[in-house]
Structures are given as C-alpha cells and as structure tokens.
Symmetry: C2
Subunit: 384 residues, 2 copies
Amino acid sequence: MMVKSSLDPKRSLPHHVELNLGDKTMERSLLGLYAMNGGKGANSYAQNSSYQRGVVDAAKPLIEAEIATKLDTKQLSSTHTTPFRIADFGCSTGHNSFPAIQIITEAVERKLQTQAQIPDFHVFFNDQVMNDFNTLFHSLPPQRNYHAAGVPGPFHGRLLPNASIDFAYSSCALNWLSEVPKAVADYRSPAWNNGKVHYTGARKEVFEAYSNHYANDIESFLKARAEELVNGGLMALLVPAVPTFENPGTSYTTPTEMDLIGSCLVDMAKKGILSEEKVDTFNFPLYFTIPQELKAIIERNHSFSIERMEILNNPGKRTLTSASARATYLRAVFEGLLINHFGTEIMDELFDRYTEKLAASPLFLDPDNEKSIIIFVLLKRKEV
Amino acid sequence: MMVKSSLDPKRSLPHHVELNLGDKTMERSLLGLYAMNGGKGANSYAQNSSYQRGVVDAAKPLIEAEIATKLDTKQLSSTHTTPFRIADFGCSTGHNSFPAIQIITEAVERKLQTQAQIPDFHVFFNDQVMNDFNTLFHSLPPQRNYHAAGVPGPFHGRLLPNASIDFAYSSCALNWLSEVPKAVADYRSPAWNNGKVHYTGARKEVFEAYSNHYANDIESFLKARAEELVNGGLMALLVPAVPTFENPGTSYTTPTEMDLIGSCLVDMAKKGILSEEKVDTFNFPLYFTIPQELKAIIERNHSFSIERMEILNNPGKRTLTSASARATYLRAVFEGLLINHFGTEIMDELFDRYTEKLAASPLFLDPDNEKSIIIFVLLKRKEV
C-alpha cells in the first residue's frame, strides 16, 4: 500500500531511516546519523530556530561590509559569464538559510553593480543526508533571485567540485562533531564518560577527547572548503562557542543545558525508566570552542587568511523567554539524536523533566546569565 | 508533537503537501502538483519502474557512441579546470537515473582519457518540487564518481545558471505536460472532454488541445535547456511516444491503458461510487507524440542540431508480464495524480477494477500487441 509505506515511521522520520548504502568501509558517522527535526510541526526546527535567526540578523552588517570591501571583483570580472556560486553548509530545512542567502546575494549585487555585471546566482544548500530536504525545497522563497540546489552529505568531507564556489557560509553548524569521540563511549578508555552525556564537569580526558576531535573536524572542514572555493573566494562562519571553558557560578552556556538534559537522563535511569548502560553509552556529538582555540585551528590551515574575527554576544538569547520555549528549542535540535539512541517513548517525559528543572532554576530563566557566544569569522581563500 | 507531525499524511505524501508559496501570480501548475510515488514501498516508483530501466539499457550503446563521437573535447580542454556538469531532468527518486548517470560519466571519462583530463563531475538531479528528494538522496550510490545535487522545480522553465551544463539527459519524462490543457476541463469549450479522462477516442478538439499544449511545453523545455547548456553541449532525450496516432484493433499503447483507467472511473461513477462531475473534471496531463511531430517541434527551435534520432522499439515491454504487475506499475506512476483529484479512498477499488479489465483482455496480456515506442534524440547546442 502506497499510503502505508509513506506513513512508515522509518521513512517519515529522517533520523529513523535505516541506511543500507552497501559500502561497509564507509564510516557510519559519515552518513550523518542526526539532523534537526524536519517538517514544520510544533517541535520542528523550522518553528524553533528563532535563536539562530537572531544570529543571522546580528551577522548581517558584518557580512555586508566584508562583501563590499573584500570581494575580489577583478577576479570575477575575468569570468563574468560564469554564475556566482554560493554554498550554505548545514542549512537544515532552510528557515534561517534563506534570509542569509538573501543578505549575501544582495550584497554581491550591490558590489557588482558598479561593474555593470549582473551575475546568475547558483546557491547550494547543504546538510546531512538525514536532513529533511523535502521541507527545504517546499520552503524555498518563490521570488528568489537565484537557482537553488540541495547537496546531501557531511560537510566534514568534499561535497562540491574543485574551485567552484565563490562564497561559502555556515551558521550554527560547526559546533556539531562528525561523530562522538570513540574513546568517551569506550569503557576500557581513560576517557570513558560514564554517568554523563557531555564533557561539562567530566574528567579531563573526556574534555581532551572532545577537543581533539573538534580540531580534527574543523581541519577537515577547512581542507574540503579550501578545495571547493575559487582563489580569492570568501567564507563567512558563524560558530557557536563559549567565552571561556570555566563557567563562573552565576553564568551558564549551551553546554550547561546539555549537562542538564544529561542529569534528567540519569534521574530516569535511577527510576528504572531506562538503563544506566543506555545513559553511559550516549554522548552528545557537540563541542563549543573558545575564540583563541578556533583561531589557532584556522591558522594551522594555510589556505585561508583571516580577514575578520569578531565575537557576537549571544544575539539570539532574548528570543527564548520561558522554560517551555527553551525546552522546545532544544527538543527541535536534539530530539533526532536522542530518539536514535533512546527511542521515541521517553521523549515527552525527558523534555517534561527538563522543562521542570529549567523552571526551578532562576539562573536559567534570566537571559543575562546566558554567556554563550557566536564567533564570526570571515576567511579568504589564498591564491594558489 | 514531532512524531505526529512527521506522520501527518499531508507531509508524508508528496502529492498531498499543501503549497503556500505566497506568490499568487505563480501558475498552480508550475508548482508541480504530481510526482511519481515516493519511498521504496510496494507501490513506489522505485519498485515499479523496471520498464523505464529497460529504456536506459536500450539507450546505453547509443549514448556511449554519441559521447565518443560528438563530445567536443577541444572546447572542454580549453576549460579543463572546470567541472563537467550533467543534469537529469525528471529523475524521480533516482532508481533509473543513477545507472544512466553512470553510463554518461563513464563514457565521458573514456573520451577524455585520451587527453589525460580527469574531470570533476557535478550531477544535478531534477524533478518537481513534490518529488521525494529525501528518498533520492538516501538512495545515492555511495561509491559514485561525482558530486550530487538535487534541483527542485518544473523542467518546462529555467532551473540552472546560463551556459553551465555540459550534458543534459531526460528519460521517460517529456510525456508529462506542464498541466492539463485548460480547454479540456472547461464545459463551455468545444474541447470539453466529458465522460473521458484522456484524448484517446475523444473529439478532435480534445486531441488538438493536448497536441498544441505538448508543442508549447516541448518548446519551453528546449528554450530553457538552450540557455543552460554550454556551446557544443549535448542533450540525450528518451521520449515515450507512439508509432502513429491511429491504433489498429490488434495493438495498444500507453494511451490505450490510460483510456482503460478512464473506463474504470466511468464505471465507478455509474455505480455512484464517485460523481460524474469528478470524472468529467479529471484529465491526465500526458501526451504521447509521434516521431515526425517531435522532429518538427525540435526543428522549430534553432538552438539545437539533431545529431541522431532513432526509435527504440518499446524496450521495456517484456518486463511486465501479468495484469497485476502492469496495474502496480501504472499505480506507481499515476496514483499521486489520481489521489490529488479523487482522494485516497477509491484507489484500491480503482486498481482492482483495472487489474480485472486487463486480465479479461487477451489483447493486453500479449506484450507483442504493445506498440508504444521510445524516441531517442541526441541534440547538440549550436555555437552562439
């Protein structure tokens, strides 16, 4: 039955699809086993990403200024019959990607108008294979000034042809690791992270495993983009981060909230709702860097020059003002990942408990205590 | 609820999604209100397109020969640092597109090996916005020798930047009209097609409305592709067709089968299962041309030269040997369209009736009586 097959949850839920790609040598992690919640429903990422939209708005003047001053129109004018190609790495279902692309294309148009060039824009929307591209495509602005294409696959590897992209962009995506560091889920390892689901407050070895993995992932990302960008091409990155790895007792950051989800899972294990082993084998594949660390990683890659690096002071933090709004936001982002490991059954209880813990904590409900930051980096592909 | 929203049939069934694109001036038909059945279930297009796979196999030696002789490597060698771009227009969920792309990329590689060029392939998979791109992306061959991108939108309009495609391909897709000709659904028109759902055996005015619409659609397709293809670029088309518009009594074609579906709908209207008005307002947006007609349309467009035109004698007809297999095949192709108009409820009965009518007809069960053809055309973009 057609209708039954379409309603099969394995097909409908992006994170539930069983991948059978035939290639046993391919790393499971590279297939992209997590994605933001798809569709447009109450718990969808599309309905719960006003935080990330705030980031786009805060970055707008910076992107516009950088395109106006740093875009190499001489190089473009030599090939002005070819389209201007833009790629967004980690676009999810497009809700916050479309306004960012509009900012970029309009800034490029303004810059090129002085040369009487009207470029044909080609925009590539990338996210994991598990991403809900059907929703992305249905949501494309009908009046857009560009040709659109979807690019499925992990952005830690190559996705596009050599020297084909003029402007790369990635917002609120580079905090995702390609996978959980293997050592933290291995009970024989000194980095085994038992009784916790993230590195906050965990042993030094756990943090180091995450930190090393992050450096490798960002290096892979930069290597792939260096190959895909044209000489002189620009790349704007908006990277979720923290100001420092040590939180004072009066502040919290996104990792603190992940730790709070972890404590709810531990509570549920203690009550026998799920097994301790299930909690011990789960870890969030996320890492929040600090500006100095990110700068050092980028500088180790010699293909890019850092044209601008700036801290955006948590531009989206005023968008989530209640415990339930915060909980729904984290649910839209993390549910796919959690369902993959724990199943759908415990999700309602988990996020109910999380909402309660948040509401009980005055620390969490005052946005001024939220110290997460966004690092804005504008990179330029060096001439080869 | 995330799970509930994902299971919402409006989201899961591509042909059920309510589009709200905000642009009221945009023609409803251009949004692509039909698509092959998605997913990989029993009635999916992926599981019921062995006929179309037969077409790809039959076209293989022709495509290989044309690429070997007609691909302009001199022009390519002048820009050998740029990727070789291929687009498939009407790819559905990819099942038959992937082998075709493999044939094309391998033939291009063989041709270019002699020049010691190794091109970076970029392949664009196009189909209607309603197409199930999630299934397409999950089905991509993991060992592919190309970068993949999905391109949503109707191929009767522009989809890709100017002069950006080196090789275009379309198989078993150009028989779909952009929409049902308006006159055949208008009771005030002399072309009103009451009591029928297609032009077979209908009044001359009905046929002419279809025929004119087809010519306009193919002209729009060729105009868009002429803009997208590079000078000297090749385009291989595999067009479902009939040898002549008049069937002898001992043969049948795909339009005959659509007429048979129509007779089942009329029977159901007579029994009161659905209203006559519902049947009168439904028409299949499909047209099966004849070689002379297609040739004349292409020649009216002066951007392409016809390098080869050949009739493939229904290469897939041996693949469907039972009434139920034929019925399931047509269901995978037409069900989205039928559900859009009649709802899901009558689908099982409709295709049960159809299977019975087929099984009762010895004419339909002997594949030798099937006279549908595929027209292979190889076009070359003239130098501007």
